[in-house]
């Protein structure tokens, strides 16, 4: 009994100790909060809500849109951004034929080895090759971009909250900072080599507006290449590169859930039958 009492006594002392320490931290924090001013967050905007064909549990890829997005990546983004987890062979999933994929790959130069001398060289791509990086290494990427390394885009839409909308909003969101913003947050003024964008968390980013004029890309399917259109298309394409299996995943999910629902109902009825004998009637 004495031993048990002492366990509880020690517990009470330890408990009060931790509680007082936490409350002491609270008191200091409260005093600081009352006396010090906290720098407010810069007000950045949530991404616009754009409707895509692959949204929702029944979503499907819009191959025409993905092909347009590939063209935007190819002609604009790929100058600085790699796409290293995507292979040319994957493009067959966008509705291209085997021949088209081969031709697309062959038009790209990828790093290779000269079979006779063993020297590093460039060779035409094969379907099994991955999209080549625009820079040979991270140091070269940093040197060419004022130390802001352009990130790989393969997983960009999964690596940002609400990623598809974020990418599209960012691309079409470049603008001059408003006068009210600069008045309230003078530190938000873009520094040298930076560009204002209300969707970027600290409002200033090193990437110059990549899509600046309508018709910058000429679409093969005749779609008018407005800045909005190009932004949405490339965001859709990057959603595919981030998770090419997304539509298959959703399509697999339905039969699984329907089967499980059926099995669960059976399990419920079976359970009810088994328990009927011992459950008291209310």
């Amino acid at each position: 009994m004495i031993k048990l009492l002492s366990v509880r006594l020690v517990a009470i002392i330890v408990g009060i100790g931790f509680a007082v320490a936490a409350l002491w931290a609270f008191a200091v924090g409260a005093y600081n909060a009352a006396t010090e001013e906290v720098a407010p967050h810069l007000p950045y905007e949530k991404p616009r809500d754009i409707a895509y064909s692959f949204d929702g549990p029944f979503g499907k890829w819009d191959h025409a849109q993905l092909q347009r997005g590939l063209k935007v990546y190819d002609e604009v983004c790929s100058a600085c951004h790699s796409l290293k987890y995507v292979a040319f062979r994957d493009l067959a999933q966008l509705g291209y034929s085997e021949g088209q994929v081969k031709a697309y790959a062959a038009a790209k130069q990828v790093p290779g080895i000269d079979p006779n001398t063993g020297e590093a060289t460039m060779r035409p791509g094969l379907p099994t090759d991955y999209f080549p990086s625009p820079y040979p290494n991270a140091v070269a990427a940093a040197a060419a971009n004022n130390n802001a390394i352009p990130p790989d885009l393969s997983l960009m839409t999964k690596a940002r909250g609400d990623g598809t909308n974020y990418v599209a909003s960012l691309l079409m969101g470049y603008q001059e900072p408003s006068a009210e913003l600069l008045e309230e947050h003078p530190e938000a003024a873009p520094g040298p080599g930076l560009y204002h964008n209300p969707y970027f968390p600290n409002l200033n980013l090193a990437m110059a507006p990549p899509l600046s004029t309508a018709g910058q890309v000429t679409y093969d399917d005749g779609t008018e290449a407005t800045i909005e259109q190009m932004s949405e298309d490339v965001a859709a394409f990057l959603t595919w590169t981030a998770e090419p299996t997304m539509v298959k995943r959703k399509q697999t999910g339905w039969p699984v859930l329907i089967f499980l629902l059926f099995a669960t109902i059976l399990a419920y009825l079976s359970k009810k039958q088994i328990w009927a004998a011992v459950k008291p009637k209310k």
Binding site: A19, A22, G253, I274
Partner: protein, 431 residues
């Protein structure tokens, strides 16, 4: 132990007779989860989560072994092989999402299992050993989950590894050498990744072993029940099979529906976008958080923002975080109320629903929020309450509380007769 009325296993044919003589596995199963295990007839759906936890442990082991066939624990390629699994391996995306969300579901069912144990005081005599083994399982789960989260080698993986091993750096004098020893270097790299992979593969089997001990310890006194009154005679029990196999089957169906809804339609909802960025030792993400199941404990860690007496804030936070779980080991000896079920403890119930549960919710929210006000201050109050609840309030109320009258028996509680209620009787736990 077995109750005198427990059904006896009878081998029916030559094969089962042979087995029963040479290796009585069928008998073991029969007595463990078959008709030979009498279980209180009044268990609520809160008693489903033990079986579900065992199920999700199996899901994790199966999907984990499959993923290990395709993953490479090398900092150069770990992130790329994870993407290889997602893109090129047949059904690899399903295996990975099932494993990542399986971890979340394992924690969900285990938290509900612990919640059940806390409300119904399942840790009390004669079931202390079941509870102690359960806390061991939980600690092993936390270690396993942490190391598993490092393996994809994303930004959160890397910085999680750095921060959590940094906890050991708070230990006075030997802290830094211990941290370097744990990582096998000065920052997480190949050495750390490889040992985490090795241990992440090993620990689930250790967990499975402790689970067997946990179930073994359970079968000695038998299952507790929502009234907390011990089994008195045969009418209080039903055989585990078919009654609870059927009920667990239904519970499993519901759990799988929710689990697969998440796996197939919102597989990244519980994850963090930053972990889709490859680890970069030179840049910390703006807002690093652990996986959601660690948030309450992470909030306790961060609540200690100032030095207290002679203890530095960093050490205080680490001590508090470890203490917040280790104190569970002492619960059977802190809560001495003879009544188990919260249903019959008016004071305990008030502190449980209006103290502990809100404090846990606040800690959960604050742990996932950035380290800024009002979250820090809220987490400090909730942390103070957390320690007061378990270490001060629970020992005191168990002495001063006047419990409500208990039913005479489980059967009576089920059949709803209130005629035989005797005040003061059966309030002591059966020995």
């Amino acid at each position: 132990m077995s109750f005198p009325w427990a059904r006896q296993y009878e081998p029916k044919n030559a094969v089962t007779k042979f087995l029963d003589e040479k290796l009585p596995l069928p008998r073991l199963v029969y007595n463990a989860v078959g008709a030979g295990y009498p279980v209180p007839r009044n268990l609520s759906y809160f008693w489903n989560f033990g079986v579900l936890a065992g199920f999700f442990l199996m899901v994790q082991i199966v999907t984990g072994v499959v993923l290990a066939m395709h993953y490479a624990a090398n900092a150069q390629v770990a992130f790329a092989t994870t993407e290889h699994i997602m893109r090129d391996v047949n059904w690899g995306w399903l295996m990975r999402y099932a494993h990542a969300n399986g971890a979340s579901f394992f924690f969900i069912v285990v938290y509900l299992h612990i919640f059940r144990g806390l409300f119904y005081s399942s840790y009390k005599a004669p079931r202390e050993m079941i509870w102690l083994l359960g806390v061991v399982i939980f600690l092993l789960m936390m270690a396993t989950a942490f190391m598993g989260y490092v393996l994809p080698w994303g930004q959160m993986s890397f910085w999680g590894a750095k921060v959590i091993t940094g906890l050991f750096g708070a230990i006075p004098l030997v802290g830094e050498p211990i941290q370097i020893w744990l990582l096998g270097g000065f920052a997480p790299d190949n050495a750390a990744l490889n040992r985490f992979f090795s241990l992440h593969f090993l620990l689930p089997f250790v967990i499975a072993g402790v689970v067997i001990l946990h179930i073994w310890a359970l079968h000695i006194p038998g299952s507790s029940n929502p009234t907390g009154v011990e089994i008195k005679n045969e009418s209080d029990t039903v055989p585990f099979h078919p009654y609870y196999t059927a009920k667990d089957g239904f519970g499993l169906g519901i759990a799988l529906l929710l689990y697969f809804a998440l796996v197939f339609f919102l597989p990244n909802a519980l994850g963090h976008p930053d972990n889709y960025i490859e680890a970069n030792p030179l840049s910390t993400p703006a807002h690093i958080v652990p996986e959601w199941y660690f948030w309450p404990f992470y909030a306790i860690l961060r609540a200690f923002t100032v030095d207290f007496l002679f203890v530095p804030a960093k050490l205080m936070g680490v001590l508090a975080m470890f203490a917040s779980i280790l104190l569970w080991f002492f619960l059977p000896w802190l809560d001495k109320s003879p009544v188990r079920s919260g249903h019959y403890r008016p004071l305990f119930r008030k502190f449980f629903w209006f103290g502990l549960i809100p404090a846990m919710i606040i800690l959960f929210i604050c742990g996932g929020a950035p380290a800024e006000e009002p979250y820090v201050m809220l987490s400090q109050i909730a942390t103070a309450y957390y320690f007061l609840h378990f270490l001060v309030i629970l020992p005191i109320i168990s002495s001063v509380e006047k419990p409500e009258p208990l039913p005479y028996s489980i059967t009576e509680a089920v059949l709803g007769s209130d005629k035989k209620v005797v005040k003061g009787e059966n309030t002591s736990p059966a020995v």
